[in-house]
């Protein structure tokens, strides 16, 4: 098979604007987009830059936009495509550092704002916790997140509003709020009761659509919203009594 790879190139230190460059790629074997990119780099242009590591859709390095679709290059097989033209762009709404490599700092920065670590009460017990599987199952959906950044990059709100924490961070917060071991006070997690937090979400569900691991971050955002409202009502009620 012969493919045309139309790859966005950009070196901010040299180029005025990003541009597309075409590479002709031939292969007899079944290859993923990532394998093809590595071949192109090795055989045609060693300056082509992109991230990769595990090649099994678990490390979150190789998120990019492939023929208009957000996905991991490693799990996208060439034979899935009907046309032989394959257009590859870096994740949008994040600064390009070089070619397909973007600055993930805003994504991790937003993540760190929700205090993404367990906040337990008391020290280490010698026997461990007792938690029923069904309690754990409530958070399993969210711990599948591999922090690839697809949802953040695709989110229309994150792209126009710097304050917005984005889907992955909010879903991560929900993961902790739901964890029976986590005892963070309401005053802590209710900080997302803002436009930069859960109310920023436009409920367009782009995040659910693009997530390669089926995390459905918007489920977490919606659940946080409900929980906030319930907690507030509880508080008002308690106050009146």
């Amino acid at each position: 098979m012969e493919y045309i790879f139309r790859i966005m190139r950009y070196d901010p230190l040299k180029d005025m604007y990003p541009f597309f460059q075409d590479f002709i790629y031939q292969t007899q074997e079944k290859k993923s987009v990532l394998e093809a990119l590595m071949d192109i780099r090795n055989e045609q242009d060693c300056t082509l830059s992109f991230r990769y590591s595990c090649r099994e859709a678990i490390c979150g390095s190789c998120a990019m936009v492939i023929n208009g679709k957000f996905d991991l290059a490693c799990r996208t097989e060439l034979e899935m495509f009907e046309s032989s033209l394959i257009v590859i762009e870096p994740l949008p709404n994040l600064e390009i550092q070089k070619d397909l490599l973007v600055d993930m700092e805003p994504f991790f920065e937003a993540m760190s704002k929700i205090e993404p670590y367990i906040q337990t009460e008391g020290g280490l017990s010698e026997e461990g916790y007792r938690i029923e599987e069904k309690e754990m199952e409530k958070i399993f959906q969210y711990i599948n997140c591999i922090m690839c950044g697809c949802c953040y990059s695709a989110c229309p709100v994150a792209s126009r509003d710097e304050r917005y924490l984005g889907p992955a961070a909010l879903a991560k917060l929900y993961r902790f709020v739901k964890d029976p071991r986590d005892k963070r006070p309401f005053s802590n997690w209710s900080r997302v009761n803002t436009e930069g937090g859960v109310w920023g979400c436009d409920t367009i569900f782009k995040c659910n659509e693009v997530c390669p691991k089926n995390v459905r971050p918007a489920d977490g955002i919606e659940a946080l919203r409900r929980k906030l409202v319930v907690e507030k009502v509880k508080r008002i009620f308690r106050f009146k009594r």
Partner: protein
């Protein structure tokens, strides 16, 4: 010049564990060639061992039986005091991980769930479905956010700077800026992982080039037991993505093209759950006998486990099969073949993770202390990373508080950085030459054909010659681009030198060791020979050549006997 008290190289589990346990009063930083969450630890699937005794048939489990299984599994090459240390610390280590937020799967009653794994007398592998590495790595990363650990990501360490037996720091290639520079450190901990990519078929990440091990070797630290390379029995046919031992732990069968559960011929009582070296050899033997499918693979059949169990306990495996092989294990057996998986050998350190170079420590897969001996048991490596990562951080902290500064270290470091810079310029200034990816293809072919699961003198000798010939070709390597920022080619050229060193050491050790032990199977010496070979291989880089020596094994409680499963 950037200067640290403790510099951890590697952002995988061992590296993060080391950074988190270092004294917070000290200046600590982590350097990693990829963002920590992209480290290969994230891909670990099946679980982590500790004798919690949470299953009904595991009530009698104890850390002592865990230690015994580890030692027996190692074919008695493990240093018994170190294996005992790890297994004793395992139980607390798991509860600590749980306390830090790791969402382990649970049993009724709410205790941590455990599954059977190969070579283990009791079910003692704790897991989070089949994404154990992901949840532990993410949890330790969360803790590093909490503790505000300093990270330098996308920096490749290219050299360890040692003077008069003392470690002064490292030289790095900062990919983000395209610069070569020195980093001063009073203590350096390597947690740089394995070298799987020197083989064609490996379960390891693309980035697992093993350069840390090679850099330590060039820094004068011996490498230990490198000939012991683990081949995992079940990697997905073609892509060689790991299909966890947990799949057999949950009850999966291995089947040949005659529909037989052939393990009955190789390990009649342990069957599919014999240690990895035995199962991998059995599979390769079946394939070689013509009992494979397409002459290349066998089947791992999970269908009888049922959809519910597969979805609950092995969701990641199901996803891998669907994404990468277009099949659903609920309905179809998984085609599998053995692939390189783990390095038992590594940088020679003691049970404090200390090496012969003052201030230089190593932990995790890159290190060898030795716990896993000639064959590692599944679920023991994650344990090794968290237990010994932590010890490395503590020991390095103790060292730093007592050591004295070397006065002229900055000048020495600058000189070393300059040397490295000159090399890069040299690669760039050549108009033509060898391409590193082509050299790598050749190296992998040698290792796979000649230094694989079954070994013999003729092959090993030939491999050694051909690796040495590749060294000559490597001298002519050049770069075709001019951009220094984010140049994967520069990374690959640096790391290839280490790959040459490692493969030479592996092959040399394998050629010398005229016996069969654990993962090292010699067709021409099919028996274990304790009289001559119950000892560790040490290879040291001296005056441009590998020098081989040997060191005794610590044996206290368990007398070496024949391994039967």
């Amino acid at each position: 010049m950037i200067s640290q008290d403790i510099l951890v190289v590697g952002g995988g589990l061992a590296g993060l564990a080391a950074a988190l346990s270092s004294d917070p009063q000290l200046k600590v930083a982590v350097i990693s060639k990829v963002h920590p969450l992209r480290s290969h630890s994230v891909a670990a699937q099946g679980g982590i061992n500790a004798a919690l005794g949470n299953t009904p048939d595991g009530r009698d489990d104890s850390w002592e039986s865990h230690a015994f299984d580890t030692i027996k599994g190692s074919d008695y090459l493990a240093d018994q005091d170190v294996a005992e240390l790890m297994c004793e610390k395992a139980i607390t280590a798991i509860y600590e991980l749980e306390h830090l937020g790791v969402p382990f799967s649970r049993f009724p009653g709410g205790v941590i769930a455990q599954r059977p794994f190969g070579g283990a007398g009791f079910p003692r592998t704790c897991y989070a479905a089949d994404r154990t590495g992901l949840v532990i790595l993410h949890t330790l990363f969360e803790q590093s956010i909490k503790k505000q650990v300093r990270f330098y990501n996308e920096w490749l360490v290219t050299r360890l700077v040692v003077r008069d037996g003392k470690c002064l720091g490292v030289v790095v290639y900062d990919l983000t800026k395209g610069e070569i520079m020195p980093v001063k450190a009073r203590s350096v901990i390597f947690a740089t992982g394995g070298y799987g990519r020197v083989y064609q078929r490996t379960t390891n990440a693309y980035i697992n080039h093993g350069s840390g091990i090679g850099i330590a070797y060039r820094g004068g630290v011996p490498l230990k037991d490198m000939e012991f390379v683990q081949f995992h029995p079940t990697s997905l046919y073609g892509k060689n993505i790991l299909i966890t031992e947990g799949a057999r732990g949950e009850g999966g069968y291995l089947v040949n093209n005659k529909g037989e559960r052939f393990m009955a011929d190789y390990a009649p009582s342990a069957m599919e759950l014999a240690p990895r070296d035995i199962v991998a050899r059995a599979i390769q033997t079946e394939i070689d006998k013509g009992n494979g499918f397409e002459g290349q693979c066998l089947h791992l059949d999970l269908r009888h486990l049922g959809e519910a169990k597969i979805k609950k306990r092995l969701p990641g495996i199901r996803e891998i099969c669907i994404d990468f092989a277009g099949l659903d294990p609920v309905e179809t057996p998984i085609p599998i073949q053995p692939a390189q998986h783990y390095s038992m050998g590594g940088i020679d350190v003691d049970k404090k993770c200390a090496s012969c170079v003052e201030g230089f420590y190593a932990a995790g897969e890159c290190a060898c202390m030795s716990i896993h001996g000639a064959n590692r048991l599944g679920g023991n490596s994650l344990l090794d990373t968290v237990v010994f990562g932590r010890i490395a951080g503590e020991e390095a902290s103790n060292y730093v508080k007592e050591c004295e500064e070397t006065g002229d270290s900055e000048k020495i470091l600058l000189d070393e950085a300059l040397k490295v810079k000159r090399r890069v310029e040299e690669w760039m200034n050549k108009d033509s030459g060898e391409k590193v990816h082509k050299l790598l293809i050749r190296l992998k072919a040698i290792m796979s054909d000649k230094v694989g699961i079954f070994r013999e003198k003729r092959d090993l000798t030939e491999a050694l010659e051909r690796i040495r010939a590749l060294r000559e070709d490597y001298k002519r390597v050049n770069i075709s681009g001019s951009c220094l920022r984010y140049s994967q080619e520069i990374v690959n050229i640096f790391e290839f030198e280490s790959m040459l060193d490692l493969t030479e050491v592996i092959t040399l050790g394998a050629l010398n060791r005229e016996e069969t032990r654990g993962s090292h199977f010699r067709l021409d010496f099919r028996k274990r020979n304790d009289r001559d070979w119950l000892k560790h291989t040490l290879v040291t880089w001296k005056e441009g050549e590998p020098q081989v020596s040997y060191k005794g094994v610590t044996i206290n409680k368990y007398k070496p006997v024949e391994r039967k499963y």
